[in-house]
């Protein structure tokens, strides 16, 4: 079954490359606009060989990890306070819902004014992009805990602090995971978007350089890398955690 799916995918992607090559061979557009698969592959190999690609990946990933870590820590804290204290939810909660609707690139001008062309500026955009998704998911997770867990814990003599750390957060974990997953997706968009505008190292910067050099192969190859990293993190990090959590929490 699984082998069959993999086979289907291989055929599908191979077909894309073949069609791509055929369209290229028809010479409808010039090479500067529509490169061949081989040119993109060459560009990838070149970027890998001289290290710029890996340096770009490392820079973007580092910003992503720092930003996401801040968002996760901050989002959980905010979410817990919103879930436990009604006034916090009624006030800060409404603000957070509003802030979540702000697209991540809309934070860039403010970040540039506050932080200038620095890592901190890009990390700020990353945090602003992902913090509220983590917060909202934590909040709904805390609100959806079966009341019997809380009754059982209080029945065994847990204090309020113990209740939050030992019962409510673990009970809400399936929600936290989807918060992290959403947070990561928003953070990744945030990092790349900010890097394009900041034009200060990272994969977004490489995209921008490609544009400035009129090098469509580089643009496409960097886009491929961004996509592949997305697939890898989604498939290997989050799918695995999710599957484990879902079965253990009895949700699958």
């Amino acid at each position: 079954m699984k082998g069959k799916i993999t086979a289907k995918r291989i055929v599908f992607y191979a077909a894309i490359v073949v069609v791509w090559q055929i369209v290229f061979s028809l010479n409808i557009w010039s090479e500067n606009i529509f490169p061949s698969p081989l040119q993109v592959a060459e560009d990838l190999a070149y970027g890998a060989a001289d290290g710029t690609l890996f340096f770009g990946i490392a820079t973007s990933m580092w910003r992503l990890i720092v930003g996401l870590a801040i968002s996760i820590a901050g989002g959980i804290t905010l979410g817990v306070f919103m879930a436990r204290i009604a006034s916090v939810n009624q006030t800060i909660g409404s603000l957070i819902l509003g802030l979540q609707s702000v697209p991540s690139v809309a934070w860039v001008p403010m970040s540039l004014l506050w932080f200038g062309l620095t890592d901190s500026g890009i990390i700020f955009v990353t945090v602003a992009s992902s913090l509220f998704a983590v917060t909202i998911n934590t909040y709904s997770g805390m609100k959806n805990i079966p009341t019997s867990y809380i009754a059982a814990a209080r029945n065994m003599g847990t204090s309020e602090a113990q209740l939050i750390t030992n019962v409510m957060l673990p009970a809400a974990f399936p929600y936290l995971i989807s918060g992290f997953k959403q947070g990561w997706a928003f953070a990744w968009r945030g990092v790349i978007g900010a890097e394009i505008i900041f034009s200060f190292l990272g994969l977004g910067f490489l995209l921008n350089v490609g544009r400035e050099l009129n090098d469509i192969s580089q643009v496409i190859s960097v886009m491929l890398v961004i996509m592949i990293i997305g697939i890898l993190i989604d498939g290997f990090v989050f799918k695995k955690i999710e599957r484990k959590v879902m079965s253990r929490w009895g949700l699958a």
């Binding site: 867990y149 009754a151 003599g157 974990f173 929490w249």
Partner: protein
């Protein structure tokens, strides 16, 4: 000696803006080491009463005394076995059982010693490292009982713990619970809607009258143990209680029909 006393417990609920009397002055004394069952039709307020004893809900008036002292908050001196078990799925069986001890700050090796005893008693040793999703409903309720007993409560509260079990598993646990009660000498307050269960388990069976709940009558089941589910001699006790409850159930059906 009286272990637990409920004095004139009154509880009202808000039903679409109208206060509805749920418990209308419940008075109950449970002696140390006794096994008392509360039986009544579903929705009669017996679980509410048990929650008040546990301190999970507050009565509008009246008080609960444990060993003569008024209590108002939940605590590990009155651990409860819930109907759905309410086990924590993120913890292994052993960590579920040790949970209350851990919260109380008891060191790890001491916890292990205590929990081992109850894992053995509930025949869970083999499953100590399983997660709860790997267990059958019956096994889950064993874990829930071990988790409650581990706290060495003054009184063990049980809220329809066998209601979701299949008949065979339930009959087995009904016998086991009697053996555990004899071994641990625990005071047990057990709520059920099953008359059969109440006469198998209880030394005393307290019948709750419906809406508002009041104690209608009390029966003493003086019969040898362990009592088996298929014991025909228990039928006459069941019939006595059923006769008492029948009018209640009829009244409830009529009320529900009219609503």
């Amino acid at each position: 000696m009286t272990k637990l006393e409920a004095r004139n417990i009154v509880k009202r609920f808000d039903h679409n803006g109208n206060p509805v009397l749920a418990l209308d002055g419940i008075n109950l004394k449970v002696d140390e080491g006794d096994f008392v069952c509360i039986v009544g039709p579903s929705g009669c307020g017996k679980s509410t009463f048990l929650n008040i004893v546990a301190g999970l809900e507050k009565p509008d008036s009246g008080e609960i005394l444990l060993n003569g002292n008024t209590i108002s908050t939940p605590g590990p001196d009155r651990t409860m076995v819930f109907q759905e078990g309410a086990l924590f799925p993120w913890l292994k069986v052993i960590d579920n059982v040790e949970f209350g001890l851990k919260m109380a700050g008891i060191p790890k090796n001491e916890r292990a010693q205590i929990s081992q005893r109850y894992l053995d008693m509930m025949q869970l040793t083999k499953f100590a490292n399983s997660y709860t999703y790997q267990l059958s409903t019956g096994m889950k309720q064993r874990v829930a009982i071990a988790r409650a007993l581990v706290m060495d409560p003054e009184i063990l509260l049980m809220d329809e713990p066998f209601a979701a079990l299949d008949a065979q598993t339930r009959d087995l646990l009904l016998v086991e619970l009697q053996l555990i009660w004899e071994r641990t000498k625990k005071t047990i307050l057990f709520v059920t809607h099953s008359i059969a269960e109440s006469v198998i388990l209880g030394n005393r069976v307290v019948v709750f009258k419906n809406r508002p709940a009041k104690i209608k009558k009390e029966f003493v089941i003086d019969y040898r143990r362990p009592r088996l589910a298929e014991d025909e001699n228990l039928l006459k006790y069941q019939q006595e209680i059923l006769a008492e409850l029948r009018t209640e159930v009829k009244a409830q059906i009529k009320r529900e029909f009219e609503e």
